[in-house]
Amino acid sequence: MNDIVISARNLTKHYHLGGGLGGAGQIVRAVDGVSLDIHERETFALVGESGCGKTTLGRIMLRLQEPSGGEINYRGQELTTLDEKGMRALRKKLQVVFQDPYASLNPRMRIEQILAEPLRAHGYGSAAEIRERCAALLEMVGLRRQYLRSYPHQFSGGQRQRIGIARALANNPDFVVCDESVSALDVSIQAQVLNLLRDLQDELKLTYFFITHDLSVVRQFADRVGVMFLGRLVEVGTTEEIFSAPKHPYTMFLISAVPRADPHQRSRERPILKGEIPSPMDMPNGCRFHTRCPFAQDICRTEDPEPQTQGTRTVACHFPLEA
């Protein structure tokens, strides 16, 4: 399979808490053994509730944070063993668009300086060439080139996010992590930015790793979906499969929780998940969803289900739901 852009094997990220003098401290398993392949020019959406490790997974796949274990393979190149210099060179191809367009642009830099930074870092060319490229980038995301001399605070949230996208695309990347990139925007702007991302994907042959908690965005935008729960990928499949026939109980609850616009459907009974997420510091034995799962059996309490792959679907459940 040579159409895989990036593949993660058994990635983990553990944070050690406390344990100062003599104390053992606790371990937070933010990402706990995730394996996945992302294909060329697809949009892979990662969904899950707050604190399940989505963002951490995105960060360690780009080595913005160091993974505690596992492997990341980018087009045949192992990233985890790369030194800082080699990694910095590869950052040209691996990019990220951040969640908060107010925090991701340096307030003391002009737009031109912000866009020029990745170009300079990778030796793009002369000052005039860089300037021209910055202007072209701005126009590519639908902003005027006159804005080059402005500061971030002169823009709205949507415009700032466009600038963030332009910066990520400066060096013609290959793989872009969008970390909740539209969550901070209001709905009409969200649609504009999503359309922009899709146009750019077609034009520049991009692969997106799209982290979000907004399922309606996923449905509209993603080719494949991965569902994350407490540091694990519990289900992976195409968007159609996941939405029409979820196999993991958690996925089913997640999808049934999406608000419906149709008032006639609203009154119908729908399953709502009860209870709290277990603490990532104190994982339950066996399947980590069993404390909330209405279908849990004895085996779920003792044995952690391994992900099983059939065709395009991967499910980590002892008793996957039948369609």
Partner: protein, 296 residues
């Protein structure tokens, strides 16, 4: 590529050419107190530079028959115990006090910023070593430290700079370090990292410019501090030596005659007070003006 047309609603006229300098000046000019402070500081600098021309008398000429004269049209602020004109000595004192206020503050600011950014951004062992060094400087009685420096190196202006910078950098480093730690977690730093910017680039282009407003405030606060330090050292006999005039020296010498001629001690004290206030107003004004999010 096609983009929906409603994105470009802004007309060209609305796009303002943002110039940091001009925006800052405009915001600064709107702050009355800051402007007042700036006028005062400018006046002071002018007086200090042109002291020989603007001062009404010779600062060193003694006239023992004119001791402790009250303020009059000849001696606006009266005369001191040697019959010297107090106003003239204050004007000359501004020279030393301004230099002593500004130069060591700048030196400790530069050293402190460098150490603070390094400490906060690199972290680990570098952080540990720099911060323990700063702790040592802070834990040591600073007046004693400054006196040791002055005694061993001799009492002159340059050594005052050395002594004050040695005492001052640690505090700056601590403040800058804490700012750096906060900035380090910002997404734009992570973005710079993701863009392949080197650590040096991140420190210089991302962290440092965001620390500048704090530095300006620190600077405006450390100038009066330094002026007071110089006064203390001069008072203890290891600072500026008579017959030179510095404000601190004038206050400490004048206070011996506080009941005979209160103006001799109070006038330079008021000069210190006004200067300290003026620098603080300027510092506050600059901080507000430099913050881009506070502009309209």
């Amino acid at each position: 590529m096609t983009v929906s047309p409603d994105l470009n609603v802004d007309t060209v006229e609305e796009i303002q050419e943002a110039s940091l300098l001009r925006d800052t000046m405009r915001a600064f000019a709107r702050n009355r107190m800051a402007l007042l402070g700036l006028v005062f500081v400018a006046l002071l600098v002018f007086l200090a530079i042109f002291a020989p021309i603007v001062s009404p008398h010779d600062p060193y000429r003694m006239a023992l028959d004119e001791q402790f004269l009250p303020p009059s049209t000849t001696y606006w602020l009266g005369t001191d115990n040697f019959g010297r004109d107090v106003l003239t000595r204050i004007i000359y004192g501004a020279r030393i006090s301004l230099v002593v206020g500004i130069v060591p503050s700048l030196i400790s600011l530069i050293i402190g910023t460098f150490m603070g950014v390094l400490s906060g951004y690199i972290g680990g062992k570098v952080d540990f070593v720099i911060m323990r060094l700063a702790d040592m400087m802070i834990a040591f009685p600073s007046l004693l430290l400054a006196m040791v420096v002055m005694y061993t190196l001799g009492a002159n202006l340059f050594n005052i700079f050395v002594a004050l910078a040695l005492v001052g950098w640690a505090g700056v480093a601590r403040v800058v370090r804490s700012q750096t730690l906060a900035l380090k977690e910002k997404e734009f730093i992570e973005a710079a990292h993701a863009n392949g910017a080197s650590r040096v680039t991140i420190m210089f282009r991302h962290i440092f410019p965001n620390v500048v407003p704090t530095l300006i405030v620190l600077f405006s606060l450390s100038i009066p501090d330094a002026i007071m330090w110089e006064s203390s050292l001069s008072f203890l006999g290891v600072g500026v030596q008579p017959p030179e005039a510095s404000w601190g020296l004038l206050v400490s010498r004048g206070k011996e005659y506080l009941f005979q001629a209160p103006v001799v001690a109070i006038a330079p004290g008021v000069a210190i007070l006004l200067t300290v206030l003026a620098f603080n107003f300027v510092g506050d004004g600059l901080r507000d003006a430099l913050d881009p999010s506070m502009k309209d």
